[in-house]
């Protein structure tokens, strides 16, 4: 098992190199000049040229990418922001907490609602409960976060005045953004739980358990859910990864100073080091979540565990 974990962590290296190269390249191809952005439109061409030289922007693409990698590998340094001049690592670290907290809250909401609703829907397939749940699940998938977020703010902050509409430090502040962000994941997890359970409850071994005289509750919760869990876990993993990287809309609407917002702002400003930092954060977070999910598989399914040893 330990060997497997080490192998998976080493596999992160090519992922990081690949992701960083592509993003670096994309930023290179996109129009706009960081030096011009920093100095503003009133600066003279001479000043801009001088700043470009100072920032090393005149060097060839591969030289600059090499420098970026060298700093990252040797010093764990992602450079300084072009705009604020503060180290990228510090800036991301100060904001990662918000993003992480938001994603964790959202995924907890999604799991706590999604799995039970999915199970009941599967057990009572085509019932009124199932139909209503599926309509809401479809709505949740179709509803864009920014729209749902605005509606929530309108209802709970503006009209009812129950909950604050911005910030993410106190518990009341966390409720609306977490719900807005969770909506899609709730729907995806509900649907996945339902279809995975539907497949399992028709298996022969479920019939075997019933033939033993086992209670229906145990049949469903222990035997069926246990076997249905692998695809559900996979979905939770991808959803959590997406929540970590894709909370941009939610962070903007609810004015949360998270990594997603930082990334959008930095892209607007052509702040290459900051964009690189944000994207690497998301990529690594995604990869780690996936690793954890893969490791969890082996606890759920002994057939997978035997492959590790």
């Amino acid at each position: 098992m330990a060997k497997y974990i080490v192998k998976r962590i080493l596999l992160l290296i090519p992922v990081i190199i690949g992701v960083s190269f592509i993003v670096f390249g994309l930023l290179e191809l996109s129009p706009g000049d960081p030096a011009r952005n920093i100095l503003g439109t009133n600066a003279s061409p001479e000043e801009v040229t001088a700043l470009r030289e100072e920032m090393g922007l005149n060097d060839p693409f591969l030289v600059r990418y090499g420098r970026f990698l060298k700093d990252l590998v040797l010093h764990g340094d992602l450079g300084d922001s072009y705009i604020s001049r503060t180290p990228v690592v510090e800036e991301i670290a100060s904001r990662a907490g918000y993003t992480f907290k938001l994603a964790v809250f959202a995924i907890i909401i999604a799991i706590v609602i999604g799995i039970p609703f999915g199970i009941i829907s599967a057990v009572k397939q085509y019932s009124l409960f199932d139909n209503i749940t599926m309509v809401f699940a479809l709505l949740g998938i179709c509803m864009p976060v920014f729209w749902l977020g605005l509606l929530l703010i309108l209802l709970f902050s503006v009209h009812l005045g129950w909950l604050p509409s911005s910030g993410f430090d106190t518990l009341p502040q966390m409720i609306l953004p977490s719900i807005a962000l969770a909506a899609q994941s709730v729907s995806v997890i509900t649907r996945m739980t339902r279809s995975s359970m539907l497949e399992v409850v028709r298996q022969d071994y479920i019939r075997t358990v019933r033939a033993k005289g086992q209670k229906e509750k145990v049949v469903i919760m222990r035997h069926a859910l246990g076997n249905a869990l692998i695809p559900i876990l996979t979905t939770i993993g991808t959803q959590f990864g997406q929540l970590l990287g894709g909370a941009v809309m939610t962070e903007v609407i609810f004015s949360i100073p998270g990594v997603g917002r930082l990334m959008v702002d930095s892209i607007m400003m052509r702040d290459t080091p900051m964009v690189m930092g944000c994207i690497l954060f998301v990529a690594v977070a995604f990869a780690i979540v996936n690793l954890i999910v893969d490791l969890l598989y082996s606890f759920v399914d002994p057939r997978i565990k035997s492959q590790f040893s």
């Binding site: 298996q203 022969d204 071994y205 019939r207 075997t208 358990v209 019933r210 033939a211 033993k212 005289g213 086992q214 209670k215 035997h223 246990g226 076997n227 759920v300 399914d301 002994p302 057939r303 035997s306």
Partner: protein, 326 residues
């Protein structure tokens, strides 16, 4: 001997939106204590549905027991509550399923799965539970050290042994074995059958053996019922029925078995295919395929007649009134 199980006029349907599939039609059967009844028929004859009906495990929806009675130890199972049924399933009546590959839970050790059924029906302490489960493993010829192994670490024949251990763990009165050897290699088939026979005698259990193998029936069963389109066409003592098959369908089944002594280019087959359960023929269900079909067979359903002692057949050919009236 007492009737342990008696099925009277049982009908089971699978209702879908467009059609009602009549899987079991007016079936009558009985099994006495310690007796093995072979339940023979083609695919789709309603054998498995009958078995699930006895266990009250017909998947609903779409399945429904439409009418009839199933008496077990003198009590009608169809009037029992779900809670009462749970004390019977796995305890007094247990089932061995067709495909051992899929009938064990892949994420539980085989030991736990055997233990589960004992825990449900017997009041034993935890260490006793494990001991009893280990004993059952040894009974079916698996070393008890394999208690903590998972189903994927066993071969098909071994898995079927585990299923048998599970079925026998609570000393049931009746075992329903649904084609227990169909999914196994021929050599393993013989082993498993031998094991089942041995354990059945040891525990004095009755058995309903579902199969489409007439050879297996001859070897293991005391009585045999021939199923066709959801009802029994012929029922009787194995020896009598094999020596003197009466119903044209039964005769056809025996004729379709290749003989070692004869040199034939082609096997004798029964012409046609089994009827569509949603659209059963009128009169005798078998008449469209029957070589000795008469006018009356197309119109009315034949009564069951006891031709010799303990040998019943549902066919107008043996109905004296019809014969004489003609």
């Amino acid at each position: 001997m007492e009737n342990l199980l008696e099925i009277k006029n049982l009908s089971i349907e699978y209702d879908t939106d467009e059609r009602a599939n009549k899987a079991v039609n007016n079936l009558n059967l009985k099994i006495r204590e310690g007796e093995t009844l072979g339940f023979v028929g083609e695919t789709g004859a309603g054998k498995t549905t009958t078995a699930l009906g006895i266990m009250r495990l017909v998947p609903d929806p779409p399945g429904k027991i439409v009418s009839g009675e199933i008496y077990f130890e003198g009590e009608n199972l169809l009037q029992k509550s779900e809670k009462e049924m749970r004390t019977i399933r796995g305890n007094k009546i247990s089932m061995i399923f067709q495909d051992p590959m899929t009938s064990l839970n892949p994420i539980m050790t085989v030991g736990e799965q055997i233990q589960e059924v004992i825990e449900l029906h017997q009041n034993l302490a935890k260490d006793e539970l494990r001991k009893k489960a280990e004993e059952m493993l040894e009974t079916v010829g698996i070393r008890k050290e394999r208690f903590d192994d998972y189903p994927h670490q066993f071969s098909g024949g071994m898995k079927q042994r585990v299923v048998i251990a599970m079925a026998l763990a609570c000393n049931p009165k009746l075992i329903i074995a649904d084609e227990p050897t169909t999914a196994l290699d021929v050599t393993i088939q013989a082993q498993v059958l031998e094991l089942m026979k041995e354990l059945k005698d040891k525990f004095n259990t009755s058995m309903l053996l579902i199969t489409h193998d007439l050879g297996v029936v001859a070897e293991t069963c005391d009585y045999v019922a021939i199923m066709y389109a959801g009802s029994s066409l012929e029922y009787g003592n194995v020896e009598r029925l094999y020596n003197n098959p009466l119903h044209p369908y039964t005769v056809g089944l025996f004729n379709s078995i290749p003989s070692l002594d004869e040199d034939k280019e082609k096997l004798d087959v029964i012409p046609g295919t089994p009827p569509d359960p949603a659209n059963l023929p009128t009169g005798c269900r078998f008449h469209p395929r029957c070589s000795r079909c008469m006018e009356i067979c197309k119109k009315s359903i034949p009564k069951t007649i006891e031709v010799e002692k303990g040998h019943f057949v549902s066919c107008f050919l043996y109905d004296k009134e019809i014969k004489e009236g003609k």
